[in-house]
Symmetry: C2
Subunit: 226 residues, 2 copies
DNA sequence: TCCGGTTATTTGTTATAACAAGTATATCGG
DNA sequence: CCGATATACTTGTTATAACAAATAACCGGA
């Protein structure tokens, strides 16, 4: 077994069209670019991304299988709408899984990682002050998943990602109000402090509160809208 | 709005071919009919179920999106092989999520439900004595998911299902040894007792041990094989 | 103006064909 | 008999066409 060969190993495996479409949709979802309940017609996304029906359908159906998109009885695919019950269910799942990921991450985080996390947090504060919400959302994603990645639990991370995606279309519902009272920022600071102190308990509490607060915000907004 | 019409509502929405193929594959996976690492060629499953490539590919890709199947760089789809790290990761996820589902279920379980669960447990004991493993596996699935269903947390249940499916191909690796020392049966009895007593703590412990034991068995078997 | 039905169009579903890249087989030279 | 090259075959990927069902548009009559 040649160690020289292993170092070249990865190979530039080309991405398939279906995968590219799926990733495009994921990114759009995560950026909150779709409205809750918005329909995603197969031919529409195929035309928008200039591919045929086959990869477009594949991407949409994969996201459905993940639970990120839904379809009604007639096969129309749309971005799911969340009610209070669903948000609360997602909240409980997320608290459980993200605390696990964070706790595990704490044992693996290098000083390098921690430095990166603190920098992202700083950038979040700046984006909050300048009220650049789309940047804020992206940084917030990076902040959390940089931590979770360190858990080295790929299946867990994937499930957490699905949960985030399910809430994706509601993110721009809460973000304009996120920094209003400084609570969101405060919680991130607590997360950072707990990481630096390597305090698992405090980290869990901060993460749980961060999730709970975001979900409460969502619930308030959707019940206000009705 | 006519109340008479509402009572007929549901409508027999016909299943699509892709969905049927996916469910067939899920069932086969859950029954442990596939070997770990076994390849699933698109044309092969299409021919086996007498459908065209399109629905076969759809089903396989949906299961991939769920993380239940995997593909290598060249696109060949296969049943994933688990190593110790993966089993341990799945174990931790499962303990966390299934305890949550069970705890929540405890608040909703009717006497009817409990009766059904006790009956399933009885059937499991019988199937164990007669060493009907495939029946045992199916009953074991029913036992756990009858409990989890009562949580009324559909997204949670779906995630748990995915986790079970990921271990599916290893089930017949452990089941021939399951009842050997009576521990598996004992744990189910403890689950039942905790449910009857409505004791959340005892229920969590029993479920966690049940999962842990099954995973330990798997780890033993696969490390013995290597 | 509103209602009924009819037509047209859109939409999801499935099969098939064409292509490319990988894998197996066979053939030939040493 | 072994190994390398060429050939045939298998496999995943994608586009397209055909079908059916659902939705939208339309239009004439009350």
């Amino acid at each position: 077994m040649s160690s020289a060969l292993q170092s070249i190993a990865p190979i530039a495996r080309k991405e398939t069209l279906g995968t590219m479409v799926r990733e495009k949709l994921r990114a759009a979802l995560m950026a909150g670019r779709f409205q809750p309940g918005e329909k995603l017609a197969i031919r529409a996304v195929a035309a928008a991304l200039d591919v045929s029906l086959t990869p477009a359908r594949e991407a949409l159906y994969n996201l459905m299988a993940e639970g990120v998109l839904e379809a009604n009885a007639t096969g129309t695919i749309y971005v799911p709408e969340l009610d209070t019950a669903k948000i609360n269910e997602l909240r409980r799942i997320r608290v459980s899984l993200e605390c696990m990921a964070a706790t595990e991450a704490l044992q693996n985080l290098t000083d390098e990682d921690i430095k990166k996390i603190l920098e992202i947090n700083k950038a979040i504060c700046e984006a909050d002050h300048t009220r650049e919400f789309s940047k804020l959302m992206e940084l917030n994603w990076m902040f959390h998943f940089t931590i979770y990645e360190a858990s080295k639990m790929p299946m867990l991370i994937r499930i957490i990602e699905s949960c985030w995606l399910k809430m994706g279309s509601y993110l721009n519902v809460i973000y304009p109000y996120y920094g209003e009272d400084g609570k969101g920022i405060d919680l991130h600071d607590r997360v950072c402090a707990a990481i630096v102190a390597r305090d698992a308990l405090a980290l869990n509490e901060a993460i749980a509160e961060d999730i709970t607060q975001a979900c409460d915000w969502m619930i308030n907004r959707i019940s206000a809208k009705t």
